[in-house]
Symmetry: C2
């Protein structure tokens, strides 16, 4: 007999439909009426806020400060950095008017702007312009900035969290006196992302460098963490760029060095967006919906009062008593909405709340409680004392289980191959994953990958050092690369 699940669609049936169902089932977000945009609903936004707090604390610990730069970028500024314009100037929202006028009952754009403005797709140029004003001497460096904001890239095919016209992110921008310092910064922030993605969010990710042809537009080096999703595809989870002096030259970040001479700064930029929520979903969720790590779960425990009118006061009091007994670090919510307890319970299963308590007269009388564990959907009876005493270690176990589960899945989906034929076989199968193979680093024969809709995700930091033939060119090389289909 088939097991019934809280979602209609399972991962194995239709991964993409399952993904949408996790999002709607957990009430994370919905498509907006505005083309390509999404509404991040309170439960989804609460997860983003927790992520923000963790990252923001870390950025500040490392000496960065937040600031805010304009949403609008005059389009001629894009003409300054040739590589950048090629990568970004294509699909952006362009503001051309500053007024609406009513004509025949319709509102029409009026007040044409002399220079059209792009809604920022990223802020290297506009922040660089400010840095150019601020960095007068080597004494003013490094400048270590971060900005939490919205950005817009006009995407043709959108998918919630993964690819939307507008999204939220943080973008770090730094300027340094020397290349060494800037390179260290880019790598340091790459390490921060690795820590956040793999240790905090317990996703399975491979850190490495992007191949030359797939770097950020205008960058010298792009570092990435490529996370494996439960369909075996890769998600580029966060990137950090060493930009060399490219942007410094484009916008004039010139300072007086220790030798008294004017020189260009070396800059970096690094970003992580709400896309990571999509990655989180596709890493840890299951056929019953979302699963959340305790670090980012809006609630660790939800208490559902089993209210019948005559004893509702007594039950509500008991629920509040339980909540008050819990350690301060444990986030507990008592849901008093007037919906059926059974429906609520399944809502919280789909929302990935680690532990769900249904509290009624029976629980008050016995002094025991029955905990539904989200991960296994098992119900466990224990005394209230035991629960309060054990909740913190139960949350640690919950996190460990999620990590193990994901790690076990992903490790089985890493394939080492020696030839293109082997690589092809894997991507033609229904168990795709990350393929580790030799690559000579040239763009020769990349179209063989295009045909499979596969790309080189990164040159992983961890290299075997062995010599073998490139699967694309047959040239001997020591370089290992990660090949995968991707989001």
């Amino acid at each position: 007999m088939a097991i019934r699940h809280a979602l209609k669609t399972s991962r194995s049936e239709d991964f993409s439909a399952w993904y949408q169902e996790v999002i709607s089932g957990a009430d994370l977000a919905e498509n907006a009426d505005v083309r390509g945009c999404m509404v991040i609903k309170p439960y989804g936004y609460a997860i983003w806020e927790r992520m923000q707090r963790i990252l923001d604390d870390k950025f500040k610990e490392l000496g960065h400060t937040n600031a805010y730069f304009p949403l609008f970028i005059p389009v001629d500024l894009f003409e300054r950095e040739a590589g950048h314009v090629a990568g970004f100037a294509k699909e952006m929202a362009i503001v051309t008017h500053h007024r609406l006028e009513q004509r025949d009952g319709k509102l029409l754009p009026a007040g044409k702007l002399e220079t059209p403005l792009a809604v920022r797709p990223t802020s290297e140029l506009i922040i660089g312009e400010s840095m150019a004003k601020w960095a007068k001497s080597y004494r003013d460096l490094p400048i270590l900035l971060n900005q939490w904001c919205n950005v817009v890239r006009w995407e043709m095919r959108t998918r919630m969290f993964l690819r939307t016209a507008e999204f939220l992110w943080q973008e770090g921008h730094t300027a340094h006196e020397t290349e060494i310092e800037a390179r260290e910064e880019a790598i340091q922030m790459h390490e921060v992302y690795k820590w956040f993605i793999c240790d905090v969010l317990k996703m399975f990710g491979i850190p490495g460098k992007k191949p030359e042809y797939d770097k950020f537009a205008g960058a010298v080096d792009t570092y990435t963490v490529e996370a494996m999703m439960q369909d075996g595809k890769a998600l580029q989870a966060a990137t950090s760029h060493y930009l060399g002096q490219n942007f410094a030259k484009a916008v004039g970040i010139e300072f007086q060095g220790r030798d008294g001479k004017l020189q260009y700064a070396h800059t970096t930029s690094w970003g992580l967006s709400t896309r990571i929520i999509g990655g989180l979903i596709m890493s840890h969720s299951d056929d019953d919906g979302l699963n959340l790590l305790s670090a980012i779960a809006p609630y660790h425990i939800v208490i559902i009062p089993m209210i019948k009118d005559e004893n509702s006061n007594k039950i509500m009091e008991y629920c509040h008593k339980i909540k008050s007994m819990l350690p301060d670090s444990v986030r507990c919510f008592i849901d008093t909405k007037e919906y059926s307890p059974q429906n609520k319970k399944w809502d919280y299963v789909r929302k990935g709340v680690p532990f769900i308590l249904e509290i009624g007269t029976k629980e008050i009388e016995s002094g025991n409680i029955c905990v539904t564990k989200r991960l296994t959907l098992e119900k466990q009876n224990m005394s209230l004392g035991e629960f309060v005493e054990g909740i913190e270690s139960m949350l640690i176990q919950h996190d460990e289980c999620l990590q193990k589960q994901n790690e076990n899945f992903c490790k089985k989906r890493i394939f080492k191959v020696n030839t293109f034929a082997e690589l092809k076989e894997i991507f033609k199968s229904d168990k795709i994953g990350f393929v580790k193979a030799k690559w000579s680093g040239t763009s020769k024969n990349l179209k063989l990958l295009d045909e499979l809709a596969v790309s080189i995700r990164c040159i992983p930091t961890e290299q075997s050092g062995s010599v073998a033939k490139c699967v694309l060119t047959g040239d001997e090389t020591t370089t290992d690369a990660i090949f995968a289909k991707s989001y």
Copy 2:
């Protein structure tokens, strides 16, 4: 002999130039190259972040949750609410294209949109559209949302923080089952603003209702806090609106009531923006620059090491020792930048750091420190132990002094008048302020005020109840109103 100050311009010489100088001297913000936009620099943004944290905690305590809604609003949505379109549809940034194309080396807009998109000037309509989907039954109400975001209103004359094309704010939006609940919410959030502005920021503000003709476009009632600036002008510091069913009808927020029948929700909205930083400046700053309350000061203490090469290690160690001795609640920064200690000291005076310590060999040897108090610029000698012991109460005193100082100023600038002649005399003088006078509530003779560039700021919550003649119409009335020039 004239006293020298840290700023070139004094308040009495040129208030507007002084205001700009406080901002640049404290490194809060600067004009962006993009017309009408500003860059909020790290020190200014750190103040905003502290404000955000205080307000956000309060909003959440009262049951609100944050969410995020699209930046873009299809312009036809503005056609739905007649009052709203009249108030807002005029000066907005309009996106008409979604691509740039290179032609003759220039980037030009391409890919025309079928429906132009407005960059949100406020989000009643777009959030209302979501609420319409979410509120199916009375069980789903109230919906208590807040959003921290950027908004754009195309202003012709801009001034940093006070009026810029793009600014940052929070906008609360709630939907309720009944008029009573919604009215209570609007008043509750008005009270929160009053608390934040008058108790946390210790600004002098008068709470009240906006006159009919000056309400938020589409609102039934608008509540405001009108704060008095040091030039006697009023700043509308934050507003809260009861919107009735106007927006609910425009976007269809219809739910099944307890009687089983469909009905429209009652909604509210309330917002506070980065404008408040301008208000803060004009309330507490002086001719030496910014002054900050301890609740929002990025640093309470700055330590400036008086470094000469041979003993720099010893001095740095001692600075860190002082920092480590301070209570956790005290924010202390050690400035190690390679600039002259004297210049740094005056920078921190202009930045409004409550206490500045210059630490050199002398201080190490004596065990005493010399504290520069920002408020009086007096230097005070005390033992390190005394300082560490006393710092928390010194901060409380600092806050109290700031409040007193501002309150004394403002109270003297409140004038009670009985006739228009008296009112006119005050606004023709060089000591303008808030004028309290009777107003009959009609729009008759308002042009008399226009001629003086004066407006009715609010009907204050505190009413005397006495009967007298309206200064504009001569009609008898009990209503007191506040008249002022304003930002």
